[in-house]
């Protein structure tokens, strides 16, 4: 809401600077987001006098003018056809900035002629559309006077962010009223004196409200013999100052009164209203209506219409119709001032996507007690501006009277909520200044508060508490830095997210954060039924992600394009589907949501280590990362299986992670087709694991098991095996046959060559043997080794490689 500082002073006396008032308003909940001063906007724009106009020697359409700016005379090249000697004009000195386009006025040479400054058009000054000719001021304008003073009287505009609960401040009187309460000053509401004719309005106008729920009050006033023309300068300036475009005197008056009282008005050409009759009713489903913006609207039975005897003439509270608007031939004007139910106006406005100054105010709630006053004010101004004769009286249809509400109020609630006691006398004084009438009640410690109708936000005791502290000042409530806490049994140890992140940070990963809204094409890869957004912002954000991997691939692509080729990334985030999946929860019907951890590796295995520079990530790096992560969180009984990629095509030759018979994730090399769609030309390895696996099954409790007292003995063995024999099989046989001395078996090499033979491989393993009772002897070791070699030979056909 734009509020003119000068305009405010019609209603309240202000001695303070604009900045001071702005600060006080902000601290009372009316946040002044910006202060625009005409002195700044029009710095270096002054009234000038054209002393001489000559033809430009090198350009037919240009003139060279001598302009006197109150101090000296400047030579200026001008292109306007209407410039003439003796005119008073607006002169932009060198160094000024043109408000309309931000251009800096400099000393320039135009076709060989020096030009120091500019004679301004209306357009350049941001006052109107006309940019053909220069703006010619009246003769009494005094050269050298600042334009901001001459035209704007040095006015300042506050841009106030009015919160939805404060419709009472969507007007100059409203803001003045709050200032009056804050500074304990009287408010001056305009006194309206009307000179009416003898013709009673009721003889010409009838109002029939058929739906009093949606329209509790409708006031009509008539004025005839009006000539439509421009509104006077003073009104145009005020409207322009707050960003309202002047149209004609009648429309300008309706806007002016809206900005003054906060009451939206509509002016009809009364000659176009059939039978002088206004009917307020709901539309029929499918009914059509053309609004002022020349658009045909199809309505439903929820939209409230203003009609005449024959047809709709306005969408109640939102916009008038083409068929009855004020035009140049208009002579009789019907002024509508009404109170429409907020939810009804909001509904129509949203349904039609049509937000107007009027709908904005109605849906927040206008003051039902000033409906008639605003109509009076409008006809008074119309008469003053355009002549015309007022009918006597008004038609005031008010079938559903809205009374001020009465709230029981206990002053002890102030202390209970705020933590500070405010004396009853101060509380009463604040409430009174806000227009709240405070009455004693029969109940002890309780008052009855009658709230003015312009404050629809005050409905309950707590709302009064809020008003009291707003005026009392939040600063005056102490910040209590002690609290008596009742302890709860909630776990405040680091959560699973924090512990997992700790591991990733220690393991040298960069965490990435990606958008959860993704293009639909990405979800095809996972085969999970994707959740779609009804109102996506664009085609790249139509779906919710069913996997973290595509988003991370985009990150990989982005980094590759910027020369970052070695990446070690992880993300923890939510994924969504219409179908349940491991770890998903079903908070909202039809939607399943879970959290996963994704790992992505590509490029050099360790670019920071020059001795390993050339090694790039492969499958076993990824598997190792997954295994390390799992062992960090003490997850036992994880099984790795071939992952079925029929539906999920993100990964080629994927390995599934299974825990207690449930698939909890997968990993492997990202498939070529998927990489192609992200324009990635190198291998990328990715894993995605359900977070619930960690949050639910990680062993938190730690238990010590005895560390062996006697040193272990290490022996390496290498076996030549058939290709089809897996390492897992070898490992199992060795462990079984090596009992009881073999404590651990680890892989250390795999080797293939022609000498070994086709379809053969050599696997080298390292054995750790120990006894809890004693140091092992050579014969014991040899005996175990030969037992292992025989078992491998017998069960797997493996031969010991010498």
């Amino acid at each position: 809401m734009n509020i003119s500082f000068n305009w405010l002073q019609d209603y309240i006396t202000i001695h303070e600077s604009p900045e001071e008032i702005a600060g006080r308003l902000t601290m009372a909940g009316l946040e002044v987001e910006a202060i625009r001063s005409t002195r700044e906007t029009y710095a270096n724009f002054v009234v000038g006098k054209v002393r001489d106009v000559r033809q430009h020697p090198n350009a037919d359409r240009l003139t060279v003018c001598d302009v006197y700016d109150g101090k000296q005379t400047h030579t200026v090249v001008c292109g306007a056809p209407n410039v003439a000697t003796g005119q008073k004009i607006v002169f932009a000195r060198v160094g000024s900035v043109v408000p309309a386009n931000g251009m800096h006025v400099k000393e320039v040479e135009i076709r060989g002629q020096k030009s120091a400054g500019m004679i301004c058009s209306e357009y350049e000054l941001d006052l109107g559309e006309d940019h053909e000719g220069i703006l010619v001021l009246s003769d009494d304008a005094e050269p050298g006077k600042q334009f901001s003073e001459y035209y704007w009287n040095g006015d300042v505009v506050f841009e106030i962010g009015i919160t939805p609960n404060r419709p009472d401040c969507l007007s100059h009187i409203g803001v003045a009223r709050d200032i009056a309460a804050l500074y304990k000053r009287p408010l001056r509401i305009p006194k309206i004196k009307l000179s009416e004719s003898r013709k009673p309005v009721k003889s010409a106008l009838t109002i029939d409200i058929q739906d009093k729920e949606h329209c509790p009050r409708y006031v009509g006033r008539l004025i005839e013999g009006v000539t439509i023309g421009e509104s006077p300068d003073w009104m145009q300036r005020r409207l322009k100052m707050i960003g309202v475009r002047p149209i004609n005197a009648v429309v300008d008056v309706t806007n002016y009164v809206m900005m003054e009282y906060g009451q939206p008005l509509h002016a009809f050409d009364f000659d176009l209203i059939h039978n002088g009759k206004i009917v307020v009713r709901l539309a029929n489903d499918g009914e059509k209506f053309v609004t002022l913006d020349e658009k045909e609207r199809t309505l439903t039975k929820n939209n409230l219409l203003i009609c005449d005897a024959k047809q709709p003439v306005a969408l109640a509270g939102v916009m008038g119709g083409m068929n009855s608007e004020i035009n140049n031939e208009t002579t009789s004007v019907l002024i509508e001032s009404a109170y429409f139910a907020p939810s009804s106006v909001r509904h129509t406005s949203r349904q039609l996507g049509l937000v107007t100054e009027s709908s904005y105010r109605f849906e927040r709630g206008v003051d039902p007690s000033r409906t008639a006053e605003a109509a009076d004010r409008a006809v008074q101004l119309i008469q003053q501006l355009t002549g015309g004769t007022m009918y006597r009286g008004r038609v005031d249809a008010y079938p559903k009277k809205i009374k001020p509400i009465n709230i029981p109020f206990r002053n002890k609630q102030v202390e209970r909520v705020l933590g500070i006691a405010i004396p009853a006398s101060s509380v009463k004084s604040i409430l009174k200044r806000l227009g709240v009438e405070v009455k004693e009640s029969k109940k002890k410690g309780e008052w009855r508060c009658v709230v003015p109708t312009y404050r629809p936000d005050i409905e309950r005791e707590i709302d009064l508490v809020e008003e009291i502290v707003r005026v009392y000042g939040f600063d005056n409530v102490p910040a209590q830095e002690t609290a008596a806490i009742r302890f709860t049994a909630d776990d405040v140890r680091p959560g699973i997210h924090e512990r997992i992140r700790e591991w990733f940070v220690g393991a040298g990963y960069n965490e990435v954060v990606c958008n959860s809204m993704v293009p639909g094409t990405w979800n095809i890869f996972t085969g999970k039924p994707a959740v779609t957004v009804n109102n996506p912002q664009n085609q790249d954000m139509t779906d919710l992600r069913t996997s973290l991997i595509p988003g991370m691939l985009q990150v990989v692509g982005h980094n590759m394009n910027r020369g970052n080729h070695s990446l070690r990334l992880y993300e923890i985030g939510h994924i969504f589907s219409h179908d349940p999946f491991p770890g998903s929860k079903n908070y909202i019907q039809n939607y399943h949501e879970g959290e996963t951890i994704a790992i992505m590796l590509t490029g050099a295995r360790n670019p920071e280590d020059w001795s390993l520079k050339d090694a790039t990530y492969d499958f076993y790096d990824l598997k190792g990362e997954v295994e390390s992560l799992e062992s960090k969180f003490n997850l036992d009984k994880i099984e790795y299986n071939i992952y079925n990629t029929n539906s999920n095509t993100l990964i080629d030759e994927a390995v599934g992670i299974e825990f207690k018979g449930i698939s909890r994730g997968y990993f492997g090399k990202v498939s070529k087709e998927v990489l192609k769609s992200f324009d990635i030309e190198v291998d990328v390895y990715a894993a995605e694991i359900d977070l619930e696996l960690f949050s639910e099954f990680s062993h938190v409790e730690k238990k010590y098991s005895e560390v062996p007292k006697y040193p272990p003995v290490h022996r390496d063995l290498a076996f030549i095996l058939d290709e089809k024999v897996t390492y897992h099989e070898l490992d199992q046989i060795v462990r079984e046959s090596g009992q009881p001395l073999v404590d651990n078996v680890s892989f250390f090499d795999i080797y293939r060559d022609d000498k070994i033979g086709n379809d053969k491989k050599s696997i080298a393993i390292s054995l750790e043997m120990l006894s809890k009772e004693k140091t092992l002897t050579q014969p014991e070791i040899e005996e175990t080794l030969s037992r292992i070699v025989k078992a491998v030979e017998k069960n797997l056909g493996g031969v010991l490689r010498s």
Binding site: I462, A507, C514, N515, M517, Q537, L569, D609
Partner: protein
């Protein structure tokens, strides 16, 4: 030669100092010639035993043996070291060659800010609660006192999934879930991701992160809310930070406030970032509205509560001096690596 065990131990110290200055084969040879050869210092000392008194001799012998062993051991070690370093770096280590490093892990700047903030509240006795990102109208709006067809809903542009399901526009629905799942006392913070249908620009993105706070008990007051947030601000932004609370409006709190802190970039003098006001808006807060208590089945006559919520991403941008919010979600590792 006059020999006593003190001078032997002195010599042991000399040996240790001398070996440290050895950095080449030649120097090592010097060392050997000085101590270990037949005419070296140690052998000469052994000769001296003879002139010592008989009862001193065992002790002296023991000390001299220790001397000889030490010198020999240091010599052997140094010899090995020199041979090894020769194969690697010829004669000397080039200390300017970078070591074999491992990559340094990072938390995303948003996570980092979120964790730091969360931990401050944890230290003040708050527990952590989480909730879903897909919510329904009840949890996201209605229970939080946004009636249907109310203009307050315009404050949050919403992504809808169907008639009632939506992407949560704030973390406040987690308040509703926490209150419905347990009884007071409640003292929770609720970090998470939220979505707003706002045009993407340098200043705003379609999703961001919030930290929500909620305390409900018998004697919770606005004064305590102010105190709690003041402590938070000092811990997070530094103890010299100034703050101010000004009235605002949120449907789910009454009274509602916004907390501004003195701009930590210009120390309150006014700069581009704080729009020359010297202040930065960091969070919204207020006393839990009685209608919210009613929606979750609490008696507003019995309990009071406060709630607060802050946007993390913009604060992180200010804190780290990043001027385009979109950079947070592009995840260029050269940016991420700055947050080690």
């Amino acid at each position: 030669m006059n020999l006593d065990s003190n001078s032997v131990y002195e010599t042991i110290e000399n040996v240790k100092t001398d070996i440290q200055t050895v950095s080449s084969k030649d120097e090592l040879e010097q060392f050997r010639l000085k101590y270990l050869v037949r005419k070296g210092i140690i052998q000469q000392m052994f000769e001296g035993i003879k002139s010592a008194s008989p009862d001193e001799r065992p002790q002296l012998g023991k000390a001299l043996n220790e001397l000889r062993q030490t010198a020999q051991k240091l010599f052997d070690e140094k010899k090995q070291e020199l041979e090894q370093s020769k194969t690697l770096t010829r004669d000397k280590l080039d200390l300017t060659i970078p070591g074999r490093r491992r990559s340094v892990g990072t938390k995303h700047p948003v996570t980092q800010a979120l964790d730091d903030m969360t931990n401050i509240f944890k230290s003040m006795g708050f527990a952590v609660a989480l909730g879903p990102e897909i919510e329904d109208d009840f949890h996201n709006f209605e229970a939080l006192n946004f009636p249907p067809d109310h203009p307050a809903r315009d404050m949050q542009d919403t992504f809808f999934l169907d008639q009632t399901a939506l992407l949560r526009t704030h973390t406040s629905p987690v308040q509703v879930r926490v209150m419905m799942n347990q009884r007071p006392p409640i003292r929770h913070v609720m970090p998470g991701r939220v979505y707003r249908n706002e045009a993407i620009s340098a200043r705003s993105y379609c999703m961001f992160h919030q930290l929500e706070g909620l305390a409900v008990d018998e004697n919770i007051t606005f004064a305590e809310l102010k105190g709690t947030l003041a402590i938070f601000a000092k811990k997070f932004f530094g103890s010299s930070v100034k703050y101010v609370f000004r009235p605002s409006f949120f449907p789910f709190t009454e009274p509602s406030a916004e907390m501004d802190i003195s701009c930590f970039l210009c120390k309150g003098k006014g700069c581009r970032v704080c729009k020359h006001t010297g202040w930065l808006e960091i969070l919204g807060c207020g006393m839990v509205d009685p209608n919210v208590f009613k929606a979750v089945g609490y008696d507003p006559e019995k309990v009071t509560g406060y709630a607060f919520g802050m946007g993390i991403d913009r604060t992180a941008l200010l804190l780290y001096g990043i001027d385009d919010i979109r950079m947070l979600y592009e995840n260029d590792v050269r940016l991420l690596n700055q947050f080690a």
